[in-house]
Point group: C2
Chain length 261, copies 2
Amino acid sequence: MRWLKFTAAGKTSWGLVEGDKVVTVSGDPFGEWQRDAQTHALKDVKIELPLIPRTFYCVGLNYLKHLKEAADKAGTVPNVPDRPEIGYRAQNALIAHDEDVVIPATATEKIHYEGELAVVIGKKAKHLTEANAMSCVFGYTIGNDVSERTWQKADRGLWRSKNADTFKPMGPWIETDVDLDKMETTIRVNGKRTGHFHTNDMIFGVVPFIVELTKYFTLWPGDVIWMGTDGASPDIKAGDVVEIDITGIGTLRNKFVAEKR
Amino acid sequence: MRWLKFTAAGKTSWGLVEGDKVVTVSGDPFGEWQRDAQTHALKDVKIELPLIPRTFYCVGLNYLKHLKEAADKAGTVPNVPDRPEIGYRAQNALIAHDEDVVIPATATEKIHYEGELAVVIGKKAKHLTEANAMSCVFGYTIGNDVSERTWQKADRGLWRSKNADTFKPMGPWIETDVDLDKMETTIRVNGKRTGHFHTNDMIFGVVPFIVELTKYFTLWPGDVIWMGTDGASPDIKAGDVVEIDITGIGTLRNKFVAEKR
């Protein structure tokens, strides 16, 4: 199933995408729900951010090429993680599919995309095991972990480099039925392919991360875990359109614009 | 005004603390509200977590003694921040006044408290200035930034060292009328004073932080900014009760217990 949060005729609700139609749903996917009689053409609705997570987890370094490129730029040897460790992103930065990423007036030209698989949690969970880790997963969406690399180097931590308003596009919807091993992530800038990797070529995959996180953390319905990215990005400038495509989910598309002040 | 989230007779709502009574309020402090006729004795209600912030901001190093003690332990020279920079904490870790901090079964004995002033945002705000920064502040509460120091040294980032379930007590209520310059933070373990500092002796205070954050971030009603701590903590063990008292707000009290597995 493909769950879409959308607005039509001034009303925001959940729906199910079926072909080029959206079937309106009463309730929400994490609780009670039922299909309504009403449908809309997908092209006519405003796609909304699927959810604001209670806690917004994000893996920093989880693919070998990305690690090596980061180390090469820093003039260091890649330090491959020996266990799954997590970071956080900030809810203020989330925007929906087709909403604009606003490049802050004070940012440098080092604006990069990072195309990521985002795991959406559906059930409250703690102390899961390898055998039952997937039982808390509701589905998958796509994230763009937009980054300002000059700030990333200059600052203590990742506060503004990763979390400035609009730096976290997520969507367009949540797909519940995927085959992780068959998925490919493809990134395009203005229609031209600039990145590609096998989505599940992670150093630590979804199961090891859920097992490790739930040793310490209760996962809640609506929490998201962004799984990291591979490769590197060219510098993105105002006017560029970035598309992140993941097989079986769809395409997250956002235009980058300059902040007007 | 002193805003309390509480449960009485199975119903959770907002209220106003007036002396030893709680006046029930309909609505919530960030929107429309009105006083109800119903009152309860403060001692008879269950104090709840005041709120779950949309984004949970926390300052890492904001007092000189704490910086110096951290540097001494690491065998380095204190690196005093030259500008306000922020970090994040995770919503899963929040608990209320009088709820138990559960020390994970795999933690070491290096469990420390950090008593902190927590700023509660009341209005959506961006690009504030020194002159109008305080206009977005609703009030203040108290946070205990519980930390596992062995994990803090061993891990990439602060994920489990600072954000394990129950590691972020916050409360007991939100006080809207305070005089920052007159406030003192006092910490007691099992009734014995173990820490004390002037609450507003920060390297960067509330105004510079709000000015800097709102250059990049939209603050939302219910967001919190924990302002950091001074001094050091003894090792806290199961059975200990930690109280953090801030003049004009009140006392946040939590017992530490061992995880049962």
